[in-house]
Amino acid sequence: MEYIFSLEFIYLIASITYILGLKMLGHPETARRGNLIAAGGMTLAIFGTIFLHQGEVLTQTYLLIGSAILIGTIVGWAIAKKVAMTKMPELVSLFNGMGGASAALIGLIEFNHYIGDTMSIVTILAGIIIGSVSFSGSMIAWAKLNGTLNKPLRLPKYNLLNNVIFIVLVAFAAYMTYIGTDSQLYLYILFFGALAYGILFVLPIGGADMPVVISLLNSFTGLAAALGGFLYGNMVMLTGGILVGSAGTILTFAMCDAMNRSLFNVIFGGFGDTDVSTEGSTSSVKGSIKKTTASDVAILMNYSQRIIFVPGYGLAVAQAQHAIHELEQLLVGKGIEVKYAIHPVAGRMPGHMNVLLAETNVDYDKLAEMEDVNPEFSNTDVVFVVGANDVVNPAAHNDPSSPIYGMPILDVENAKQIIVNKRSMKPGYAGIENELFFNQKTSMLFGDAKTVIQSLITEIKGM
């Protein structure tokens, strides 16, 4: 009976909640409950670790742990509750970095306690490297999504440089293990070296690829947590960490698949490498664009039978999700068939558009995935592209020199009329021109997505 209340048993329950929770997160009906179950298991594991600890613990230590958890809970809760829905992707990145940093710090402290124990030192050093890379990489990803850092930054020969740094880091860690050093200096050199590598690793990767990077770093942090579990022989850290590590890796590959690019290509590909430096000369595509006005578009929509909306990051930035839903309902009320075409990587994270539109209670049936909706464009009267760019760029089909060549896109050019709403003619996140804008059938409706959609609503209501 005693065993029921033992820490091992609590860890077993917690591990089961992680597996169940992740499983339930995969289905819309059970997702929320799954998250709560995993959170419950985590709470149990945390309190179990504190209160069922064997051996003498000073009150001072309890106070320290208690205050750290209290502060972390209040701050974490406040940030998570306050931040706007559009900022979710960078928030995930931020929290991921916190976990990575925590793992690295554990390694820094425990290093002294395990000197001479070769395998433990290997585990600790690996944990420090992975945790630090995850931390600094996540911070860069966060800054990029945040818009603080919006251009890929590349040192000369950055691929070679990064690989050399990585090899040096690993070799240095191996050397530290081999000589069985107890040098704090070496330890901190490794720590800061790993931090620097994390920065250099993410810096050259374009903003459009950040979802993939965050997912990858997410599984890194899982791995770092699992290494901690290995070190302590702690089962709950091991199961939770490995679970996230493997699930995160699969998710990363799923995202790469959606963009028809390999992970190797994302990391070493130098996306948009050729164009970025020549930002000033934007006219690699010749032709002229057609501008249109809200009232013209309103008339066009009013007399259409089938309309497809193509939302992109611009919709999220402008917070126009409610407006577009209102427009949709207005049009449906007039007997027009309206759908949303969701590209898997539209926005800044897979499913970003779904999450955004779900906020406004858009019907699930109206959200069409790329494969299903692509054949439908040819009998669609109007396609309304709102703040999307790279995911509708025909260069992916017909320009082998384009960095996005081969990426599956939404074939909006097959529709009878294309209305593109953008704030300006600036290229999208991939930093490349879009010949769709110069298409005969395309009209540009410049302006902030929310303002534009609201004026469309007013115009249509007045008809």
Binding site: Y18, I19, G21, L25, R32, G34, N35, L36, M42, A45, I46, I50, L58, Q60, T61, L64, I65, I69, I71, G72, G76, W77, I79, A80, V83, M88, L91, V92, F95, N96, M98, G99, A101, S102, L105, I106, L108, I109, T118, S215, N218, T221, A225, A226, G228, V236, M237, T239, L243, S246, A247, L251, A254, P344, G351, V355, A358, N361, D363, E369
Partner: protein, 102 residues
């Protein structure tokens, strides 16, 4: 080399768990609709906050007079808590939006 083999045999149970968990992780993600990719990533993100357990163990085992270890341990627990609490709350907020649907 002997140390390595010794390590394997001493930790055989954990190695079993690692291998099985890798397959569980792969299986679980296999069939998730794209709609749930973001919440799923966020949920997984919260779960690796389990690293906080390690941070707590560090503090529980740290010498009372080792100020550096105490300070770093404190920060580690704090960051781990941020990861756990922030991660689960953000995921819940995302999923809240799916709730009202049929």
């Amino acid at each position: 080399m002997t140390e390595f083999i010794e390590f394997i045999s001493n930790n055989l149970q954990m190695i079993y768990i690692v291998i099985l968990m890798i397959f569980v992780g792969v299986e679980i993600i296999g069939h998730v609709p794209a709609v749930l990719h973001t919440p799923l990533m966020s949920g997984a993100n919260a779960i690796h906050g389990v690293v906080i357990i390690g941070a707590i163990l560090v503090l529980l085992g740290a010498d009372a007079d080792n100020i550096l270890a105490q300070a770093l341990g404190f920060v580690a627990v704090l960051l781990g808590t941020l990861n756990v609490v922030g991660g689960f709350v953000v995921t819940d907020r995302m999923l809240e939006m799916f709730k009202k649907k049929k």
